[in-house]
C-alpha cells in the first residue's frame, strides 16, 4: 500500500494526505492508496496543494501495516513519520 507524505510549507512539519483531502501530522490518519489510478488521482490533488502553498514536495511512499498500525517501509520515511530515533 502507499501513502502520500509531504512537508507543510509554513512550519516544515511532516504530514500525510488524508481521506478528506487534508493533511495530518499522524500517519495513522493517512489515506492508504492502492493501484495506479488511485495513486494518480490523489497525487494530483496533493500536487495541487503544493501549488496552493500548503505543502512542499509531496511523495508517494510504500507503507505496510504492522499490528494494525501503518508504518513506512523505508527507514528514511520511518524517521520522518515518527521522529528521530535517538
Amino acid at each position: 500500500m502507499r501513502m502520500i507524505i509531504a512537508n507543510r510549507l509554513n512550519d516544515g512539519r511532516v504530514v500525510f494526505y488524508t481521506a478528506g483531502g487534508g493533511w495530518d501530522l499522524d500517519i495513522a490518519a493517512g489515506l492508504g492508496v492502492e493501484g495506479e489510478a488511485e495513486e494518480a488521482k490523489h497525487f494530483a490533488a496533493a500536487k495541487a496543494d503544493e501549488a496552493a502553498c500548503k505543502v512542499v514536495d509531496p511523495q508517494l511512499i510504500d507503507v505496510k501495516v504492522e499490528g494494525g498500525k501503518p508504518r513506512p517501509v523505508a527507514i528514511r520515511e520511518v524517521v520522518r513519520a515518527f521522529g528521530p530515533t535517538i
Binding site: 509554513n10 512550519d11 516544515g12 512539519r13 503544493e50 514536495d57 524517521v79 520522518r80 528521530p84 535517538i86
Partner: protein, 557 residues
C-alpha cells in the same frame, strides 16, 4: 572579537528585512519553491526530514557569552530547547518554522549574528583555528583576515550564484587545526625571509563524493592582496566551474580537470588585472579590524605548574582532565580549556539551552566572556588562568562538560545523519553513541590516546569521515544501513585521505570492528606511538585482518 559598526549593523538588518519580504512572497505563492530555495539557503534555512533546519554562522568559531545566551533563547523560543554545533564552527537548530524565521533572524541580528550564506552556492562561513589568538605556536591571530574575508564575501553580487558551495579556511599556526588542505581555498600563514606575514594559498581541496587534498596555487601573497587574489580565484571558478552536474560542480573538480598549472595561469592573469584596484586592502582597515582582536587584559602571572602539580597529585580525575583537555597558552599563567560535547547518552555536538547559559556564565567568569567552537564540535575557553583551572574543572564536571576525552576515541565527530538530514543514507548518531558506550573507562581512553573517529551519514561527508583516523561512512544497501570504514585520514598539516578498510558492516557490527581495530593497534604499536602513526607505519593489512578475519578475499570484495 569583532564588533559591528553602524555599517555592519545596517546590512544585517536590511538583509533580515529582505528575507521577511521573501518569506511573505513564498507563503503567498508569488515565489515557487524552486525560486525560493536558493534565497532561503542563503539565509541558512534548509528543509530537512522533519522541519526546517537553520544553520547560524559563528564566524571563525568565535562567540561572545551574550551571543551564546541568545542561542539558548533561540533554542527555547523557536526550537525544542537544544542546538547542534557543526564541523564548520556553526550552530544548527532542527525544528524551525519558516513563518517564524524572520523574527528569529531579527533577534540574532540584535546580537550581531546571522545565518547569511551559511548555505547556498556562495562563500560560506570562513573557518579557522579554534585556539586563534592564544595558541603557543601561532605566528599571528588569523581572525582579522577571516573578518576581512567575511565582509568581502557577504552579499557579494558577483559570487552569489556560483556553480556550488565555496568554503574558505585560514590558519595562523603551522599546526593546522583549521583543515585548510580540505577546503576550496585554504590560507596558510607564514613568514617570508624578511619576517613579514603572508599566506600560502591552497585551492581545490574538499571532501564529499570526490575528496581531494588542495594544491598550492601560490606560495606567497601579502595580506593587502588577499581579497583581490580570492576574487581572481572565485571569478575563474564562477566562469569555468561545471554547471551540468551538481556532483561535479565544486572547484576541486575543475582544478583537477584543467590541472593546477592551467588554473593558476588563468587566476594569475586575472589577478594581474585587478590587484591594484579598490580591492587592495588599505593598511588602515587591517589595523582597524586588528584592534578588535587585541589581546584581552591578561594579568601578569607566573607559570603555575607547581600549583597544578600539587592539585594533580591530590586528584586523579583533575590530573586526567588537565592532561587530556587543556593545552598550553602563549601567555604565562594561562591555559586553553576544551569542553567536549560528547557526553554518554547524548548526540555528539548537541547542547541544551540551560547548558548554553551555564557555559556563557563560566565564559564570563573564567575566559573574558568568549567561547570558541572547534571542528570536532566541541567548545573552547581560550584564556583561562592556570590558578583557576581546578575551580573551573569542578564546575564543568558538575555540568557534564569535563569528560577527559579531547581527541580521544570517544571525541567523535558525527553529522546529524538520517535522524535529521534529508541527504543522509544512514543514521550516524546511534553509531556514535554505541561506540561512546563501548569506551567509558577513562584509563582505557588515556591508554588508547589520540584516535579521531569521524562519522558521516552519507557521501556529502559533513562528518569529515575522509580525514578521520578512523572514518565511518553510512551507506544504504537495499534499505538497510551499512557502514564503510576508512583508516588513516588526517586534516592537519600532513593531510591525508583515509583508505577503505573493506565492505560495509551492518550497524550492529561497527562497535566490535572499532574494538578489534583498537586491540590490533595496541598489539603492534611502539611505545608512545599514536594510532595514526602506527597505521602509517604498518599499513592497512593488520587492521583489515583484525576486522574481517583471515578471509581476506571477503575483505577486498
Amino acid at each position: 572579537m569583532y564588533r559591528y559598526d553602524e555599517f555592519d549593523r545596517k546590512l544585517v538588518v536590511e538583509r533580515a528585512n529582505q528575507f521577511a519580504r521573501q518569506v511573505k512572497r513564498r507563503l503567498s505563492g508569488e515565489l515557487n519553491e524552486d525560486q525560493f530555495r536558493p534565497l532561503r539557503l542563503m539565509n541558512g534555512l534548509y528543509l530537512q526530514l522533519h522541519a526546517y533546519m537553520l544553520r547560524v554562522n559563528v564566524p571563525y568559531g568565535t562567540l561572545s557569552s551574550k551571543q551564546l545566551r541568545c542561542f539558548a533563547h533561540i533554542a527555547r523560543r523557536y526550537d525544542r530547547g537544544y542546538g547542534h554545533f557543526t564541523t564548520r564552527q556553526n550552530i544548527q537548530y532542527n525544528w524551525i518554522k519558516l513563518e517564524e524565521t524572520p523574527a528569529l533572524l531579527r533577534e540574532l541580528a540584535d546580537v550581531e549574528v546571522t545565518g547569511i550564506q551559511s548555505s547556498g552556492n556562495c562563500v560560506r562561513n570562513i573557518t579557522s583555528d579554534q585556539y586563534a589568538g592564544s595558541a603557543k605556536d601561532e605566528l599571528a591571530d588569523p581572525r582579522k583576515y577571516c573578518e576581512l574575508l567575511r565582509q568581502y564575501s557577504v552579499l557579494h553580487p558577483e559570487f552569489s550564484y556560483l556553480p556550488r558551495k565555496f568554503k574558505i579556511a585560514v590558519t595562523g599556526s603551522p599546526t593546522d587545526r583549521a583543515a585548510v588542505a580540505v577546503h576550496d581555498i585554504g590560507l596558510r600563514m607564514h613568514r617570508n625571509k624578511q619576517g613579514e606575514i603572508g599566506f600560502e594559498v591552497l585551492v581545490g581541496g574538499g571532501l564529499g563524493r570526490t575528496p581531494w587534498i588542495a594544491h598550492t596555487i601560490r606560495d606567497w601573497i601579502e595580506p593587502e592582496h588577499i581579497l583581490s587574489y580570492v576574487e581572481a580565484i572565485l571569478r575563474i571558478y564562477n566562469l569555468h566551474g561545471r554547471r551540468d552536474n551538481i556532483h561535479k560542480a565544486r572547484i576541486k573538480i575543475i582544478v583537477n580537470q584543467m590541472g593546477i598549472d592551467k588554473y593558476r595561469e588563468l587566476v594569475e592573469a586575472e589577478w594581474q588585472r585587478i590587484k591594484d584596484s579598490a580591492l587592495k586592502v588599505p593598511a588602515e582597515e587591517i589595523e582597524r579590524i586588528d584592534r578588535y582582536f587585541a589581546p584581552p587584559a591578561y594579568a601578569k602571572l607566573e607559570d603555575a605548574t607547581a600549583l597544578l602539580d600539587g592539585q594533580r597529585k591530590a586528584s586523579r580525575e583533575f590530573d586526567r582532565w588537565l592532561k587530556a583537555n587543556t593545552v598550553g597558552h602563549k601567555v604565562p599563567g594561562y591555559a586553553i580549556v576544551n569542553l567536549t560535547l560528547k557526553a554518554l547518552g547524548k548526540p555528539p555536538g548537541d547542547i541544551d539551552a540551560d547548558t548554553m547559559d551555564r557555559v556563557a556564565d563560566l565564559a564570563d567568569r573564567y575566559s573574558f566572556g568568549e567561547i570558541r567552537i572547534s571542528h570536532r564540535q566541541n567548545l573552547v575557553f581560550v584564556d583561562v588562568r592556570q590558578d583557576q583551572l581546578h575551580e573551573l574543572w569542578q564546575k564543568l564536571d558538575a555540568l557534564g562538560l569535563a569528560t577527559p576525552n579531547l581527541d580521544a576515541i570517544t571525541d567523535i565527530i558525527c553529522c546529524p545523519g538520517l535522524d535529521y538530514c534529508a541527504l543522509a543514507n544512514a543514521r550516524s548518531i546511534p553509531v556514535a553513541m554505541d561506540i561512546r558506550k563501548r569506551f567509558v573507562d577513562v584509563d582505557e581512553l588515556a591508554d588508547i590516546g589520540e584516535l579521531k573517529i569521524n562519522i558521516s551519514g552519507c557521501m556529502n561527508a559533513c562528518g569529515h569521515h575522509h580525514v578521520g583516523h578512523i572514518g565511518i561512512l553510512g551507506v544504504d544497501k537495499r534499505n538497510e544501513e551499512f557502514f564503510q570504514l576508512t583508516l588513516g585520514g588526517s586534516s592537519d598539516q600532513n593531510a591525508s585521505l583515509g583508505d577503505r578498510l573493506g565492505p560495509g558492516l551492518p550497524q550492529s557490527e561497527v562497535p566490535d570492528a572499532i574494538a578489534a581495530i583498537v586491540e590490533r593497534y595496541k598489539s603492534v604499536r611502539n611505545d608512545g606511538e599514536r594510532f595514526l602513526d602506527t597505521y602509517r607505519r604498518v599499513g592497512i593489512e593488520p587492521f583489515r585482518e583484525a576486522v574481517y578475519g583471515k578471509d581476506s578475499e571477503k575483505a577486498v570484495a
